[in-house]
């Protein structure tokens, strides 16, 4: 039984039992090269749910504040290993109610970066097929077909993955994927090595350059599963007006710095912001750098232990240290 079949079966059962009002998974988008979040209410509709290496959306986004509709809905959802960390982070902070959730963990062997594939062709992609594990066959609008090895076109975050299996789930869609030895190897920070080697001035220039292209659509904020202020976001506040609404490299950078500080110790590096950004800004730079600082200082990896408090909730003024 495939993982996809497991997902459909769990979803149908949970809907039929009335355990959930709706179930969130993934389905095909406007063509077979795209996958989009799916919201299923009727057990008869579970056949639209799919599982392929294109299922990149972190569905935890859709259970954060103001997303459930109706607000008190009981929700079922699929989580990959990385997604489960954001769920654990929200549970640690008591921002979601475990009792209203039904979680299906989906063991994952790596998500394909559609943008990497897009860049290989001038034409649009109309189909991405996975004839067997590890093979990716891409077809364009003009009918050009090319094959890639899955490992060559993975999302960058997947290349560093240490949690292929969900850390929190009620049910699991099939056998677990092999886990790396996390004791042996700590987090891999190689993605920000180049950035870290820059001087302060060079860092400033590099950041201003990438954020100059920001169009302030706030997709990065809205898609971020641990960004929970919703309609009270400081970046949109006019009263007080703390961040200029005008668009420019420095203003954009300031707003991203605020985002970074606000998710410090909470960001699980799921990469949803990178993938949502319509102008492809490498948003990971700031968040990953902050994650590394927190890991180095406190040994804290957000969203990995359900019984742990987030690092900045442990801060104690009286003792001036973090708990221990």
């Amino acid at each position: 039984m495939s993982r996809q079949d497991h997902i459909r079966e769990f979803a149908a059962q949970a809907l039929a039992d009335g355990r959930v009002d709706y179930f969130i998974g993934w389905k095909q988008g406007y063509n077979s090269s795209e996958v989009v979040p799916a919201f299923v209410k009727d057990p008869a509709d579970v056949d639209q749910l799919i599982w392929t290496p294109l299922c990149h959306h972190n569905l935890v986004t859709f259970i954060k504040r103001n997303m459930p509709d109706p607000a008190d809905a009981k929700i079922g959802l699929c989580v990959k290993g990385c997604d489960s960390r954001t769920l654990v982070a929200l549970l640690q902070e008591e921002l979601v109610d475990k009792e209203k959730l039904y979680v299906v963990g989906v063991p994952c062997d790596g998500i394909v970066d559609r943008r990497k594939l897009e860049k290989e062709f001038a034409d649009e992609l109309v189909d991405i097929a996975f004839p067997e594990r590890g093979r990716v066959v891409v077809t364009t609008g003009k009918g050009e077909t090319r094959e890639f090895a899955q490992d060559d076109v993975l999302l960058d975050v997947c290349g560093r993955c240490r949690y292929p299996n969900a850390l929190y789930a009620d049910d699991v869609a099939g056998p677990l994927e092999a886990e790396p030895d996390r004791e042996e190897s700590g987090p891999d920070w190689s993605d920000i090595a180049d950035f870290e080697n820059l001087s302060d001035d060079e860092k400033q220039a590099a950041l201003e350059r990438v954020y100059a292209t920001c169009i302030r659509c706030f997709a990065c904020v809205h898609v971020c599963p641990v960004c929970v202020c919703w309609d009270k976001c400081v970046n949109r506040s006019r009263e007080p007006e703390l961040v200029a609404q005008k668009v420019g490299a420095k203003e954009n950078l300031l707003f991203q710095m605020i985002h970074m500080f606000h998710v410090a110790g909470r960001c699980t590096s799921c990469g949803a912001c990178d993938r949502a950004c319509p102008v492809e800004i490498p948003l990971y730079l700031l968040h990953r750098k902050m994650n590394k600082e927190i890991y180095d200082m406190f040994g804290f990896e957000p969203g990995t232990k359900l019984d742990e408090k987030p690092v900045f909730q442990l801060f104690d003024l009286a003792t001036d240290h973090f708990g221990d």
Binding site: Y22, G29, Y30, N31, E34, V36, P37, A38, F39, K41, H57, T61, F62, N66, M67, D69, K119, A122, D123, E124, V126, G141, K142, T213, I215, R216, C217, F218, A219, V221, H222, V223, W230, D231, R236, R238, E241, A244, Q245, K246, V247, G248, R275, A276, P278, V279, E280
Partner: protein, 401 residues
């Protein structure tokens, strides 16, 4: 006007000649991302990728446009007295004046901003050009009743040199809403790619003037080239699917305003503003006064109907408090409220909102579903509801106009 031909290798020379008289804006690829940028000599114009991430509306309807700069200064007048002649003539009134003047006062300076450099946008698509025509109605709407001087100054100084879409994408649906891959609405001159170069047709006086300014790079097109261009246009049009019929959509959206299916459709929306900021015709904005110490500016900046603050009223009440309310607005605005006002659509079918949406929400599907009559079960509830929602279009349009 004669039909001309531009050889492929003459394109840089052509743009170079235009650049002597005006700013040239063209799609350019930077770090793998195609965007309209001020073109500089030596840059490759990217035409193989059909659509730049954003339409070029940014060059006429600036994302951040400063209306005016202002400042104030405290003035401490010198001690009263001095004008003895006046004092002798009328001692009482001079004394009074002296008391008033001795109080420190503020001087306020206001400096209006209105720059509209001549510019040529090359390489936009007919759907992009049509977006400008749709915005024109708003910023110069009702025969100029809502005339916006900043937008119109830029618009008048802008020439649109569009390129026919030889290879439309699967997300294109311009033909469904009255346009086409070689559409001429808003286009000053149309460039159609054929073997060896472009067949160039001036469609307006502005377009003719631009071609005349860069005439050295152009030759007369041969009959064979003109025929080839005709074939490209026809073939491109045939490649575009028509996902819905326009008839009835306006009325059905009206009738469906309280339909529960809006909630289902909005489920995967994350309520960001990407679709509106890549759109050639979304024109909503907000106005900000920003003061730092004693100087500041008033600017308008793009805003969008997915932003909760966009409809929040001074009282704190938000008529579109839920994500699904805001979601409904975008499609209703494009296919119902705007058509009610201007008798045309606020969409040109470019499909950018589909391909750039973080969750690939498909406007074609929304219009197909919500622009169709409600299923029989829901019909009774829907027909009574609009007046009771507190979110009737009159409220929404007040903000948009």
């Amino acid at each position: 006007m004669a039909i001309r031909f531009l050889k492929q290798d003459q394109l840089p020379a052509f743009l170079g000649q235009l650049a002597e008289k005006a700013r040239v804006v063209a799609p350019v690829k930077t770090d793998g991302v195609v965007q309209f940028q001020p073109w500089v000599s030596g840059q490759d114009v990217e035409l193989d990728v059909l659509l730049a991430k954003q339409s070029p509306k940014e060059y006429v309807f600036l994302q951040t446009e400063t209306y005016l700069k202002f400042g104030y200064e405290m003035v401490k007048p010198e001690a009263a007295g001095g004008d003895t002649a006046a004092e002798e003539a009328d001692p009482v009134s001079v004394d009074d004046a002296a008391v008033e003047v001795a109080i420190p006062y503020e001087t306020v300076t206001v400096e209006p901003q209105n720059e509209a450099p001549a510019q040529v946008i090359f390489g936009l698509r007919p759907c992009d050009a049509r977006g400008f025509v749709q915005m024109d109605q708003v910023f110069g709407g009702y025969g100029g009743f809502y005339y916006d001087p900043l937008y119109n100054a830029r618009r008048e100084a802008t020439t649109l040199l569009a390129v026919t879409c030889r290879e439309p994408r699967s997300t294109c649906f311009c033909t469904a809403i009255g346009g086409g891959p070689a559409g001429e609405e808003g286009v000053d001159a149309l460039f159609t790619q054929v073997d060896g170069g472009f067949v160039v047709e001036a469609l307006t006086e502005k377009g003719e003037a631009a071609l005349a300014a860069a005439g050295a790079a152009l030759t007369d097109a041969t009959d064979a080239q003109i025929a080839a261009a005709g074939e490209v246009k026809t073939a491109a049009g045939a490649k575009i699917d028509v996902p819905f019929a326009l008839e009835g959509i306006r009325d059905n959206l009206h009738d469906n305003i309280a339909d529960d299916r809006w909630h289902d459709q909005a489920m995967r929306c994350i309520s960001c503003g990407t679709c509106t900021y890549v759109c050639p015709s979304c024109y909503c904005f907000s106005i900000n006064d920003e003061l730092v110490e004693s100087t500041g500016e008033r600017y308008r900046v793009w805003d969008n109907c997915f932003n909760p603050l966009y409809t929040e009223e001074t009282s704190g009440h938000n008529p579109r408090a839920q994500k699904s309310n805001r979601f409904r607005n975008r499609f209703s605005h494009k296919f119902w409220y705007y058509p009610d006002k201007y008798d045309s659509l606020l969409c040109s079918g470019c499909g950018r909102c589909i391909m750039n949406c973080p969750t690939r929400i498909d406007i074609r599907e929304i219009v197909r579903v919500m622009g169709a009559p409600a299923p029989a079960v829901a019909a009774g509830a829907a027909s009574e509801a609009p007046a009771a929602t507190g979110d009737a279009p009159a409220v929404a349009e007040g903000k948009e106009a």
